[in-house]
């Protein structure tokens, strides 16, 4: 089985973002591997460690500026075999490079460079654009089966059994035959920390670079972001001294309890 994993470089999850005149301020802000992409990488590595899966190689794919190479090195240090960097300076946090273009770039990479891909693992969403489109859109473009919000992936015959999160709990779906696209949710696994020896090994692993403009895809956003602004601030709250005061406020001021 050959696995392609999407890894995105995003603003670190702990950063409190500020809105500037041209979208969210990214200058000097800490950037990290998207947490859900990290989970996707971990799952790929676990599948490789499972002899029954017969994973031949894991290729990590990142689309973005030159610093994506650092993100790729993290994925390589976690256990991916080689990396592909599709270089573009277009902003990937919803402002410029949007999900349809990203999914089409994934499609081009699969069709032109990694033809024998059996499984694409991506995170369920990136924490900057919060779209969650790339997984299902790629599956749609490729006419491949999909399973989103995967909480558990098991091998079954030539295919996979995936338990996925739903609004009411979870459901189990069967993908009888690969190739397929799976997007990974929070509870799928807990990603490992890359060990120092693996970080050193990762420096020698291969990363191929391509330019996003060379694939013949229209990279212009189809949905134009006219403005980015901060949400209206909530009215400042107050501290109450005890439960009695709280109940009084809820009953008489907020009128939310009888």
């Amino acid at each position: 089985m050959k696995i392609l994993v999407g890894v995105k470089r995003v603003v670190d999850y702990a950063v409190k973002v500020r809105v500037g005149s041209n979208g969210v301020e990214l200058k000097n802000v800490k950037m990290s591997l998207n947490p859900f992409c990290e989970i996707a990488v971990e799952e790929a590595v676990r599948l490789k460690e499972n002899k029954d899966a017969s994973v031949s190689e894991i290729v990590a794919l990142s689309i973005g500026p030159k610093q994506c190479q650092e993100t790729l090195r993290t994925a390589l240090a976690m256990g991916c075999d080689r990396g592909i960097h599709v270089q573009t300076d277009l902003r990937g946090d919803y402002m410029e490079l949007q999900s349809d273009a990203v999914a089409k770039l994934f499609q081009k990479i699969i069709e032109e460079k990694e033809k024998d891909t059996d499984l694409v693992l991506v995170g369920k969403q990136s924490i900057d654009s919060d779209c969650g489109h790339v997984g299902p859109m790629l599956a749609g473009y490729m006419s491949w089966p999909q399973a989103t919000f995967a909480a558990k992936i098991d091998l079954e015959g030539n295919g996979l059994l995936v338990e996925r999160e739903t609004d009411q709990g979870t459901e189990t779906v069967r993908i009888p035959k690969l190739p397929a696209v799976i997007s990974c949710d929070l509870r799928l696994n807990e990603p490992r920390y890359a060990t120092l020896p693996n970080i050193m090994k990762a420096k020698k692993k291969k990363i191929d670079t391509f330019q996003a403009e060379d694939f013949g895809i229209d990279l212009e956003p189809k949905n134009k972001v006219l403005e980015v602004f901060e949400p209206p601030a909530r009215k400042e709250g107050i501290f109450v001294d005890d439960v009695n005061q709280l109940i009084d406020k809820l009953r008489n001021e907020a009128a939310v309890i009888p």
């Binding site: 999909q146 709990g169 189809k222 949905n223 602004f229 949400p231 107050i238 005890d242 439960v243």
Partner: protein, 398 residues
């Protein structure tokens, strides 16, 4: 074929034309004595739907007429109904999520609204804004069981077919896990870039959606001809269920041009926790617990309070990770987005990711022994106290 016929007058049973149609073979409705006009009048579409119900109109003709009416309308919306859960008491009515999508759709344009659903819907349980219902056929040859009708591959294939037949200008789904699974795939199949999790509709092509866990909002304009959208259900009031007795029900699979959808994924089973409490996503009151609860047993304290107030129980990621609560109670960026009248956060510190899932609640109460917990920054009422003292006291007093 009959586009050059001009209607001269209409009464309740007959539509009179300027030109005599003598050749019965070519009339669209065979032996029926009412001819259906292919109309391009937007606002008359409701009237024409009503006419289609009158008289002896052949089923096929009626459907063809509706198709023409929908195609001629420059703006019409297809809503992807949220499937009813196994917990839903009545499956012939629409889910609350769908009702929110309907009221959102009404803000787009005044054109007709069609619903795509998997179960038979009683027209009495439709809001009057809904003019037709497309029913996904369970007899589709490629689905192995009715559960597979709702896998993304099947639903998006039905959406593609509906779009081919009726050329909707807007396709809208709820931004639930179901909608998020189906809509992007459907958008890709239609060659459209979707806009999801919309919290405000400014016009038929301009919307507001959150980014960066809701810490920034983006005003975005769709430039493609067809808008494929999903809306955050907590941002839109549920449409009134005042009945739509003239709504037309069309069985999507019966149309001969429709090829059966491919099933690439099969539904196996679902694991749902059943509860008598209101559904977390739509409850008016939510009592939520965090790591401060310290154990799953302690969640009983919150359950008691929820029952007193007729509310649902929620949990932070930390509580779910620690095994204090099941994952379908999780509120946050991963998990459910809720906006109840009252949200009481107990022992929750208030991480950015949790806040993004509840900061649209009308009244927020925070109970935490740490006065510096970030949750107090969004709380309307903050109580700095040990929750194991405060919550039982609340239960006693209420």
């Amino acid at each position: 074929k009959h586009q050059n016929l001009l209607p001269v007058s209409i009464d309740t049973k007959k539509i009179h034309f300027s030109k005599e149609v003598t050749d019965r073979k070519h009339t669209p409705c065979g032996t029926s004595n009412i001819l259906i006009i292919m109309s391009s009048f937007l606002c008359k579409s409701r009237t024409l739907f009503n006419y289609c119900q009158l008289g002896k109109v052949h089923e096929k003709t009626r459907r063809r007429a509706i198709r023409c009416i929908l195609q001629r309308n420059s703006a019409s919306t297809l809503i992807i109904a949220e499937p009813s859960s196994s917990n839903a008491s009545s499956s012939s009515s629409l889910m609350p999520a769908t009702l929110s999508v309907i009221s959102a759709a009404q803000k787009l344009h005044p054109g007709p609204i069609t619903i795509l659903c998997d179960k038979a819907i009683d027209t009495g349980s439709l809001p009057s804004a809904v003019t037709s219902v497309l029913h996904m056929d369970t007899r589709s040859s490629s689905t192995t069981n009715t559960g597979s009708l709702l896998v993304a591959e099947s639903v998006s294939s039905h959406i593609q077919q509906a779009q081919k037949l009726y050329s909707f200008s807007h396709i809208v789904a709820p931004a639930t896990k179901f909608g998020s699974n189906v809509l992007p795939r459907a958008a890709a199949m239609l060659g459209i870039s979707p806009i999801t999790d919309i919290i405000e509709i400014l016009s038929q092509d301009t919307f507001v959606r959150p980014i960066y866990a809701g810490n920034a909002l983006a005003k975005v304009q769709a430039t493609q001809n067809v808008k494929v959208l999903s809306v955050r259900t907590t941002a839109f009031e549920k449409a009134n269920v005042d009945g739509s007795p003239n709504a037309t029900v069309i069985n999507l699979m019966e149309e001969k041009e429709v090829p059966p959808p491919q099933t690439l994924t099969e539904f196996v089973k679902e694991n749902v926790s059943s509860s008598d409490r209101p559904d977390l996503a739509t409850a008016n009151v939510v009592i939520s617990g965090g790591r401060g609860l310290k154990s799953a047993e302690n969640f009983a304290l919150l359950e008691a309070l929820a029952d007193k107030l007729g509310g649902a129980v929620g949990a932070s990621r930390a509580a779910v990770d620690a095994g204090y609560a099941p994952n379908d109670l999780q509120v946050g960026q991963t998990g459910k987005c809720v906006a109840p009248e009252l949200y009481i956060a107990c022992g929750i510190s208030g991480a950015i990711q949790h806040l993004s899932g509840m900061k649209d609640s009308k009244t927020i109460v925070a109970i935490n022994s740490d006065p510096d917990a970030p949750i107090f920054q969004v709380a309307d009422y903050g109580l700095v106290q040990d929750l194991f003292k405060a919550v039982p006291e609340l239960n006693r007093q209420l």
